[in-house]
């Protein structure tokens, strides 16, 4: 098979930093090529070079595309040649409909007048193709992240795509939707679309990829061909981090103590669709020192359950009781929930967890400013000491705590969010997708922190869409489906199959 794309000795330098150092990447016609590497390894930079975000001339090296030297000046230039990139951060207009978004900039128009009938029909066809059951007129705003991802792919398909680049496409997707998406990629491959997939989920990479290229610290480390011999996850991880990672989940002494938090008969209705009950009489408990997982598909109501528990931050007509150490507590406002001993680490750290423009220090102390002040006056020395303490304890990689949070990588940002909540001194932490979008090394560190918390006797309630993570970390797993807790499995009983069968049969 001939090469569709050949990137030769790409070097890209930013002031003071070599982001890419003679990177080579060869993508053959009609294959699925996985690009893996830790956050900050240079994957995104490489794709920006390819798509023309960094125009020809701003980097060294050559790009050969479709048999000719390609020098893209900007994104539209590369899109014209059929190179379409779908970014991790979706680029949809929330208040436009699906159809309008799919054909944005590529409108189905004659003499500037849009043919809506045709637009809707073509959108419907595309949506069927990507397996999204929504009307083309639905506003993107009303869709979850996973469905928005599918809209992005539909949008790419609406163009004459030859090389589809997916940057972390399944990061926000549930297990089932991820599977569907991967199937979709395989189907597109049959139709002749070449794809590059950037992913942290190695089981997915193994499932779809024909070739895997590993990048570390701005250099190509290895390229593995799945057709010559099967690729193991261990081999990829070794190349990614430059060391063997025998245990993906650190060991932990499992010892559950007294019941720390008990939620009974929790009911929540949708804030906009008044007649839709999102959480149906959920009851659960978390013991001291226990890590409890909540498994479920996207839309099962896991985040909604967590946020409604945490100061009724989501939903309306919330009812039910929460007890901490047997005492009923008031969690009707966020500050009361914090005072009662709860903390909620959001799945969406950038828009709900952090103030990106502020420093690490100011983010860490935000949920417990009383702890660094007296009489309402802040003690900046104490603030610096506290944030320095967490910087060291959490191993937040930054020159100083006065760095703005926006300058940190995803893993380090997540550690800042965790620091913030640990400093608030909670009894029970609700972690919503705590390792989403962060690299293998940082994940391992986050797992270590979770274990440390449980060793201290805190209760941890962990929501995750990655089943291996739940199975690797949790003592007990609740299975959630359509707003109800449909099953409960101990670590010994739990397996991916059992969780899925609970979801499917209930």
């Amino acid at each position: 098979m001939s090469a569709l794309l050949e990137m030769r000795a790409i070097t890209k330098t930013f002031p003071g930093v070599k982001a890419l150092d003679e990177v080579n990447l060869t993508v053959r016609q009609g294959e699925i090529h996985a690009l893996v590497g830790e956050n900050g390894a240079g994957k995104s930079t490489l794709m920006k070079v390819l798509s023309g975000v960094y125009p020809a001339g701003s980097y060294d090296g050559e790009i050969h595309y479709d048999g000719a030297l390609a020098e893209f000046r900007d994104i539209s230039d590369s899109e014209k040649r059929g190179i379409i990139i779908i970014h991790q951060e979706l680029a949809l207009v929330p208040l436009l409909s699906i159809a309008e978004n799919v054909f944005l900039g590529n409108e189905n128009a004659r003499n500037g007048v849009i043919d809506w009938q045709g637009t809707f029909q073509r959108t419907e066809a595309l949506l069927r193709k990507v397996g999204l059951r929504e009307a083309p007129t639905t506003l993107v705003d009303k869709l979850g992240v996973g469905k928005q991802q599918l809209v992005e792919i539909a949008k790419a398909l609406s163009k004459e795509v030859r090389l589809l680049i997916l940057d972390e496409p399944t990061a926000a997707l549930s297990e089932a939707d991820s599977q569907a998406l991967l199937d979709l990629m395989l189907e597109l491959k049959v139709q002749g679309v070449t794809s590059i997939i950037i992913s942290h989920k190695l089981n997915e990479v193994r499932r779809v990829a024909d070739t895997v290229t590993v990048i570390r610290d701005g250099s190509t480390v290895s390229t593995m061909d799945a057709r010559s011999h099967p690729i193991t996850e261990a081999a990829i991880v070794r190349d990614m981090v430059g060391r063997d990672m025998a245990h993906r989940y650190p060991e932990r002494q499992r010892r559950a103590g007294e019941v720390l938090m008990e939620v009974s008969d929790w009911n929540v209705w949708h804030p906009e669709h008044v007649d839709r009950q999102v959480i149906r009489s959920a009851s659960l408990h978390v013991r001291a020192g226990e890590v409890v997982g909540i498994a479920g598909l996207m839309g099962a109501g896991r985040t909604e359950l967590a946020m409604s528990l945490f100061g009724r931050s989501w939903g309306r007509n919330v009812s039910g009781t929460v007890k901490i150490r047997g005492q009923e507590v008031d969690v009707s406002k966020v500050d009361r929930a914090i005072a009662a001993g709860l903390a909620y680490v959001t799945e969406d750290r950038k828009s709900l967890g952090l103030i990106l423009e502020e420093t690490i220090q100011r983010n860490v102390t935000l949920a417990n400013l009383q702890g660094v002040s007296s009489g309402g006056v802040l003690n900046e020395n104490a603030e610096t000491e506290v944030s320095e303490k967490y910087r060291r304890a959490m191993n937040i990689r930054t020159p100083s705590v006065f760095q703005k949070v926006m300058n940190l990588s995803g893993g380090n940002q997540q550690k800042v969010v965790l620091s913030k909540w640990l400093f608030a001194g909670p009894e029970v932490l609700i972690l919503d997708e705590p390792t989403r979008g962060i690299d293998v090394g940082a994940k391992f560190e986050i797992y270590g922190i979770i274990n440390e918390l449980s060793a201290q006797g805190k209760g941890v309630l962990m929501i995750s869409s990655e089943m291996p993570e739940l199975l690797g970390m949790c003592d007990r797993i609740y299975v959630m489906n359509e707003g109800a807790l449909v099953g409960e499995l101990t670590a010994a009983e739990a397996s991916q199959e059992r969780i899925m069968s609970l979801i499917v049969t209930e």
Binding site: F14, P15, G16, V17, A19, N39, G40, A41, T45, D217, F310, G311, S313, K333, V334, D335, A337, I338, Y344, T346, S351, L352, G353, L354, I355, L356, E357, E358, R362, L366, A367, L369, Q370, S373, G376, V377, L378, E380, N381, T384, E388, R397, T398, P399, S400, F402, Q403, N407, L408, S409, G410, N412, K420, A424
Partner: protein, 411 residues
């Protein structure tokens, strides 16, 4: 992302030039103010810094600065208040009606006016905070309503004059507490007819406090290893600020001493700088403006904080209204017309961000003075109001472009 970490690491060891580049905004504002003052001092043949003109400059800009303090908080919290000019005019009118027409004591009137200002802020803040109606719209409505109310209250007439005690809010001076003999003894030294010793000493003490505070902060930062301002910069900055302060106070001392308004402004500026930079409430306001959702999920009562920001703005607009009316010694239906734009411009020139979460009290005050010196200097030069407006507009645009450019270079 590793890239960002590494460039961050580089800033730890930076040269003087790099430092200046990364803090261009803060120094730029100060230098711009000094440069403009020097420029006008030369082209007006020394009129700008004559004691009487400095006094004038302070009086003319006092109400803008008082409102800029509140506006900074409103803008940092992620909102805007377009009604302050009208509210200021309305409170002036209210004061005139209460004192002149109804004969109420002036102290009681001041109290009533401040309470009414707070209520006006509360009325607007309520819709913004609890109903999530954009502040632009609520306060635009307020602007029209209170302009109309002033007209109605004054029945289209000017009302005045005010009693002498009320006038001293704006036009009074702090009496020299030191024996007159000292002043007379000093007068020949400065080649002046008289010297107000209190003003002179206030200047020296204020400069000393600023330098001392700066040194303490620097020592503290050093203890935590976060010193990034080169020593030469630290010294130069403090010498310039200290010298300027003493110079201005010396000039004032050779005229009538410290204007009451200057004390009011100074005290309010210190209070609000402390509130925004050192208190829990202040920090929460920045968090609210920086990311409202994250702030709310961190247990901050975002609605109440927004509400209080508007109440505070209302009270300060009322205070400004009292100063304005006292200065003119009359309340007119036109008072405060389009003044909200000057206040907002001062805050943005001072470095605040339209999207909230960024901005400093000192910046807003310097921004207001910058506009004030421009106004005053151009008026002395006899430049027409037409050119004045254009120049002020371009200065605002330039300041914000500078901000955006700076940010994109750093980002």
């Amino acid at each position: 992302m590793a890239l960002a970490e590494q460039t961050g690491g580089e800033t730890a060891t930076k040269s003087v030039g790099d430092y200046l580049l990364s803090h261009l905004r803060e120094y730029g504002l100060l230098f711009a103010l000094i440069a403009i003052m020097v420029f006008f001092q030369i082209v007006t043949g020394g009129t700008l810094l004559r004691p009487v003109n400095i006094t004038n400059l302070l009086l003319q800009n006092s109400y803008i600065i008082i409102m800029a303090l509140g506006m900074l908080i409103v803008i940092v919290s992620g909102n805007i208040d377009l009604s302050v000019g009208s509210v200021m005019g309305f409170i002036g009118a209210l004061a005139a009606v209460l004192i002149v027409n109804m004969g109420l004591p002036w102290l009681l009137t001041i109290l009533i006016c401040l309470v009414v200002g707070g209520l006006i802020g509360a009325a607007q803040g309520y819709w913004v905070a609890y109903w999530k109606i954009p502040s632009f719209i609520v306060t635009l409505a307020g602007m029209l309503v209170f302009r109309g109310l002033s007209l109605w209250l004054l029945e289209g007439q000017s009302v005045g004059p005010f009693p002498r005690e009320f006038q001293t809010i704006a036009n009074g001076f702090v009496p020299d507490i030191f024996p007159a003999a000292i002043g007379q003894a000093l007068a020949p030294v400065f080649d002046a007819r008289q010297v107000n010793v209190l003003a002179l000493i206030t200047g020296i003490v204020a400069a000393a406090i600023i330098v001392w505070g700066g040194m303490r902060k620097r020592a503290r930062n050093k203890a935590y290893g976060v010193v990034d301002e080169p020593r030469s910069f630290f010294i130069a900055r403090n010498v310039i600020i200290g010298a300027a302060l003493i110079f201005i106070m010396y000039k004032l001392s050779t005229f009538r001493g410290l204007p009451n308004v200057l004390i009011t402004m100074g005290v309010l500026t210190i209070i609000y700088a402390f509130l925004t930079e050192r208190t829990v409430t202040g920090r929460r306001i920045y968090a609210l403006g920086g990311n409202q959702k994250a702030a709310k999920l961190s247990g901050i009562k975002t609605e109440r904080l927004t509400f209080l920001a508007f109440v505070n703005m209302g009270i300060l607009a009322a205070a400004a209204g009292l100063v304005f009316a006292a200065r003119l010694n009359t309340a007119t239906p036109k008072a405060g017309f389009s003044l909200e734009l000057d206040v907002i411009a001062a805050v943005f020139i001072g470095g605040a961000s339209m999207s909230g979460g960024v901005g400093k009290i000192v910046g807003a005050v310097v921004g207001a003075f910058l506009m004030g010196v421009l106004n005053n200097g151009m008026s002395i030069m006899g430049i027409g109001i037409d050119y004045q407006q254009m120049i002020k507009g371009l200065v605002l645009l330039a300041a914000v472009i500078f901000d955006v450019y700076n940010k994109s270079k750093q980002g």
